[in-house]
Symmetry: C2
Subunit: 370 residues, 2 copies
């Protein structure tokens, strides 16, 4: 096989604060050694991809032309993004496709012709060359669309459960819980018998989770939410939370509810209860500051949670066990749902951008590059 040519999506922030998103041609040489060349057939647009693709650029008022978007990055965001100025960045954390060429190493050759799910960081492209080890072979009856989201959401949801166990908690509070990830977590919790408190922001999301059998589903915009949260925390014994929102008061409210439950029948202490309360922020749906009232004693911790550092700390055995569970249940427990399919060039149209960049919970789009 000779080298092939394909398109990839690039996002570049220039020093003047202009963000340029465009399609670029690339030439991919034949894969060497343990490399494989994958024709990308489906790649989901995850919130973490949007953080790189557009960050907080003003896509509403951007210039859209054939194969190119030029948008302004707000000044406040530019400071935080100084590290990427001038560097064209590829996008797309994960996806699925078919191995169309392979290096001479046996592990690469073994994948030839197979449909695989993979992690690469640049899946919004027609072709990708990756190490054979970055691929998970999909079962024969699983389509690229079904396998496209086999990594980020499934491994994150399973990672929450592993983290819960490792840190000796027995029940979980989850926010923005109607997301694809949230629905997976509901199913995992059901299968594993783990009590789960789901927090969502409207009644439609309540219905989504009730439909798949979630027991504790709370609407944070409803009056009486604080009391409902305390009751659900008491009923489940949850002392760990995973929060996709980040900004605002919700993390504080959750810790407060946990503390109310923990101190209910304990003697008064100026330091609060002895019960350790943990919240992990793993997303940034709300970019405003996290407000912690500290009305929950001193036995608390709030921190960032990311999949890759977690996997590093979990070790290969745990990762293998998690991956196997995902592959065995990719069309059931770990099924993802998409609102629509978008080609690489459509991904640069104003209508599409305003739709998929809205980051509405449960509304996920799939890039179909070929």
């Amino acid at each position: 096989m000779t080298e092939i040519q394909g398109l990839k999506l690039l996002s570049t922030l220039d020093a003047d604060g202009r963000l340029i998103v465009e399609l670029a041609e690339e030439r991919l040489p034949p894969p060497q050694a343990d490399e494989v060349l994958v024709r990308v057939e489906a790649a989901p647009i995850n919130p973490s991809d949007l953080a790189l693709l557009f960050a907080s650029a003003d896509v509403e008022n951007a210039e859209y032309s054939e194969g190119r978007i030029v948008a302004r990055m707000p000044d406040a965001a530019r400071r935080a993004l100084a590290g990427r100025v001038g560097q064209p960045m590829t996008i797309g954390n994960e996806g699925a496709g078919t191995v169309i060429a392979a290096g001479e190493a046996p592990e690469a050759q073994a994948l030839l012709g197979k449909r695989v799910a993979l992690i690469s960081g640049s899946m919004f492209a027609q072709y990708r060359t990756v190490n054979a080890r970055a691929c998970m072979v999909l079962p024969d009856d699983v389509t690229a669309e079904q396998g496209a989201s086999a990594f980020v959401n499934p491994m994150t949801a399973l990672g929450f459960v592993e983290t819960m166990k490792r840190e000796v908690h027995t029940a979980i509070v989850h926010t923005a819980a109607a997301s694809n990830l949230g629905q997976m977590l509901v199913r995992i919790a059901q299968e594993d018998g783990i009590p789960l408190v789901n927090i969502v922001r409207n009644d439609a999301q309540v219905a989504i989770l009730k439909d798949i059998g979630a027991e504790h589903v709370l609407n944070s915009s409803e009056e009486g939410f604080a009391a409902q949260l305390e009751a659900a925390v008491a009923a489940t014994g949850a002392t760990i939370a995973f929060d996709a929102i980040g900004g605002g008061h919700l993390v504080s409210q959750i810790l407060h509810a946990m503390e109310q439950v923990a101190s209910k029948d304990a003697p008064y202490s100026r330091y609060g209860s002895d019960s350790p309360k943990q919240a992990y922020i793993y997303g940034a749906l709300d970019l405003s500051p996290t407000i912690l009232t500290r009305s929950f004693g001193f036995g608390w911790s709030v921190g960032g949670w990311l999949l890759f550092p977690f996997l590093q700390s979990a070790g290969p055995e745990t990762i293998e066990r998690m991956k196997q569970r995902v592959m065995d249940n990719i069309t059931t427990t770990f099924a993802s749902h998409y609102m629509g399919h978008i080609s690489l060039s459509e991904a640069l149209s104003r209508d599409a951008v305003l739709t998929y960049n809205a980051r509405r919970t449960g509304e996920k789009y799939l890039v179909v590059p070929n």
Copy 2:
């Protein structure tokens, strides 16, 4: 020995939101078994004592009469303090005095006539009965005043260093650093060769710390503080902070500076640097919310830190080693300084309350109950 009679300070919040602080008589029976009876000679007023004695009651407009204060507790605080309503609370975490009677157990008898430092939770009293194990025998040439603060501040400062090592950091950022505790930490850091960034709020406090040889002392109210902080974090390599303030933006600023340093020469990542950044809040000099901008990636954690849970996790060997270091250096490394001495009845006078409840950094008072 027959039972003896003494005074103790009590703080009671009633259901109407009135806080009553008063002196009460108590009768102390002869100590039994491994108990000892201590005549209290000196007890420091720590911020943690004030949190129980007055919390956020309006002492400015309280009624002061002989041996009794009646103050209003603001409504917002009352909810948080619901657990103590109707319970008269004794006050005073630590102090020193002389063992004047002892139970028949050898470890109690061994303390008879000795001057001891102790932890009890109710040292604002003339006499205390405690377990012999709660006492540390002071060296012969150490006065009760010198030994009164042998526990909370020294063990907390040493606890910071132990925590730093346990969590694999090599340098510390400390706020409200001109406090008695902060000065101890400066001396410990000097002795142990640990780089320390001290943050204070005015020039007088800068001078206090410079006088005892602190290298990095920053005034957070000065223009250019953010840049100075980043430079000091870079110079020391600090990735852990201990914060006595709690409210406001300072913790966020510290984490931001750590992240700036960590990501300086790293390739851009939307998730921030890999470097773990830890901040512990161990005080509440500012009761307003903690504001976290999260402009420091996902490799961060903020949590409460308290001495007693730390000691529980540290284990007896570490505690013994820490205690021994304190006793060996109680008049040097771990020396405390007091702005004045207050009797139990003076502690209830308006002038004294407004002075010692002001919680000005470095201005600590000593209760002398006998």
